[in-house]
């Protein structure tokens, strides 16, 4: 039942994108998204689309997985398009009943739609090619300089990794507890909102107790293996840049220069 919730949508396959350092992917995705907001003409979006297309091809992830991310924002996309289409002032093109579609409106709507789509697909690509733990490692390494400002980077990264690790475990526990309570006649499905919220108590209380119990056991296990926090702690698989990562950074730089230059030309 609850096991069908797949997290992080990591798609397992061998590709150069999968093997890349997560920092490149994180930084690259961020820069790509930022670049989308610099374009003033459609040529920029075209270049971005081509760049994305090449990366998708390199990642060997089937296209249908990319589009899955789109499903979730379909509604938002529709609303954005419609609002921009009908509410942008400018030179009218078509008039349907009382609503006017302007040339500027069409331009804005398409621009927004394209931008949003590229954004979503770009981010999906990152999560499809990088495991959640890999991402956390990348973020920890990238944010390390913040330690100077007393930001607990290591602790936050550790918390994230533990949380990710325990999600499937707690989901399974929820399933078990739910079944045990249903076997005692509990009803999680019928009734109004208040009734259903109350019905969650026999599920949430044991779940919390279980989570605390596990946290306690885990803390003891970690301490028993000499964990003292981040100071002086080394990694088994440290993130080290390889040639392909430098090449990737170069490609991203080239893309940024070309796309922003071309994308801001006015004609």
């Amino acid at each position: 039942m609850l096991r069908d919730i797949t997290l992080g949508q990591y798609y397992q396959t061998e590709s150069i994108i999968h093997k890349m350092d997560p920092r490149v992917k994180l930084g690259g995705t961020l820069l790509f998204i930022i670049s989308l907001f610099f374009f003033k003409n459609f040529l920029g979006y075209a270049i971005a689309a081509v760049f994305l297309g090449i990366v998708i091809w390199l990642s060997r992830v089937p296209f249908k997985f990319m589009v899955r991310g789109m499903k979730t924002i379909m509604l938002l996309l529709m609303i954005t398009v419609l609002f921009n289409l009908f509410l942008t002032p400018g030179t009218p093109v078509i008039t349907i009943w009382k609503l006017t579609i302007t040339a500027e409106g069409i331009r804005m709507a398409v621009s927004m739609a394209v931008r949003l789509s590229l954004l979503i697909i770009g981010s999906s690509l990152m999560t499809l090619t990088t495991t959640p733990n890999n991402l956390t490692d990348g973020m920890e390494k990238m944010l390390r300089p913040l330690r100077v400002f007393k930001v607990p980077v290591h602790e936050v990264a550790m918390m994230m990794s533990i949380a990710l690790r325990f999600i499937p475990i707690l989901l399974e526990e929820t399933d078990k507890i739910m079944k045990a309570q249903i076997a005692r006649g509990a009803d999680f499905e019928s009734g109004n909102l208040i009734k259903r919220a109350k019905a969650l108590v026999p599920l949430l209380v044991p779940l919390f107790i279980s989570a605390f119990r596990r946290a306690n056991d885990l803390a003891m296990a970690m301490e028993a293996r000499c964990y003292r926090g981040g100071s002086g702690r080394t990694k088994m698989k440290p993130l080290i840049y390889e040639k392909r990562d430098y090449v990737a950074y170069l490609c991203i730089l080239v893309y940024l220069v070309i796309s922003i230059f071309v994308g801001r030309l006015s004609f």
Binding site: D4, E173, K176, I177, K179, A180, Q181, I182, A183, R184, G185, A186, D187, V201, P202, V205, P206, I209, S210
Partner: protein, 281 residues
């Protein structure tokens, strides 16, 4: 009461690429008042089958008839079924949640829609049946010991007054004394109320000691279905699927090989002792 499992099959994750057939064509007939032991390796399908009996899982093929009614009928009351077929999961103490022990035990009968007086009566009755000391009734369930918590959890199911009680590894994680206490209590319960009991267990000794009938599950099918004596007589086949006979049976076999004319079909320590006394007199 009777429970008839008729050509039941179950596929996990049907329609997804991870689909797996957990149960294949199960046919079992359980008459009233029987004490049945279900044994099988992890993954053999025993827990999956148990969850079908109270409607938690729905068979992908086949039917289940409880007291002559098909539980998959459109208008069948599943909640009522769960009141009649009580299922105690493994580590049942994980389901405790109320402020005090008594309230937790009241949860089940309350869900059945019974009146307050009846609910409380049943809770008291159930707690007495599991032998929990009265001074603990109004304590928080989280302050109890592991064995005590387990009793409260079992009482929670007994309070629903089921006709059939399914216990999934009730002795898991308990010390030998705790195990004997729980199983002794269950046997007493069966003698008192005539409930049908299904005991899922990994322990051959437990099963041999208490049940009238053993069903051996293997890879989603019923491998054997007979009395303990008969089932353990085929201990070689049991070994092939990762199970075994009770230790005492092996001892008797070893003794027979050394020349002592004992009955090798003995399955419990008491029987073995009696048999040895008989032969050595």
């Amino acid at each position: 009461m009777s429970m008839i499992i008729d050509h039941v099959s179950y596929i996990y994750g049907e329609g997804t690429p991870l689909a797996r057939k957990a149960l294949s064509d199960i046919n079992i007939n359980i008459p009233d008042g029987q004490f049945v032991g279900i044994i099988g390796h992890t993954g053999s399908g025993k827990s999956t089958l148990m969850q079908h009996l109270n409607g938690l899982l729905k068979a992908t093929e086949g039917h289940i008839y409880f007291n002559g009614e098909d539980i998959y009928d459109a208008d069948y009351d599943m909640k009522k079924l769960r009141g009649k077929v009580g299922l105690v999961f493994q580590y049942p103490e994980h389901q405790l949640f109320e402020i005090d022990v008594f309230s937790d035990v009241c949860f089940g009968p309350k869900n059945l829609g019974l009146e307050k007086k009846e609910v409380e009566l049943r809770a008291y009755d159930a707690l007495r049946k599991v032998g929990l000391p009265e001074e603990l009734y109004y304590q928080s369930p989280f302050e109890l010991s592991g064995g005590q918590k387990r009793r409260v959890a079992i009482a929670g199911v007994l309070a629903m007054k089921p006709e059939m009680l399914i216990l999934d590894e009730p002795t898991a994680g308990l010390d030998p004394k705790g195990r004997d206490e729980i199983l002794g209590q269950i046997k007493k319960l069966q003698a008192q109320t005539g409930m049908t009991i299904l005991l899922v267990s990994h322990s051959m000794e437990d099963v041999a000691e208490y049940v009238d009938r053993i069903i051996v599950m293997n890879q989603g099918t019923v491998m054997m279905d007979d009395t303990p004596r008969e089932v353990f007589r085929h201990y070689r086949e049991l070994e092939e699927v990762g199970l075994a006979a009770p230790q005492v049976t092996y001892i008797m076999h070893a003794l027979k090989e050394k020349g002592l004319d004992v009955d090798v079909d003995v399955t419990t320590i008491e029987e073995a002792a009696a048999e040895l006394v008989r032969v050595l007199k």
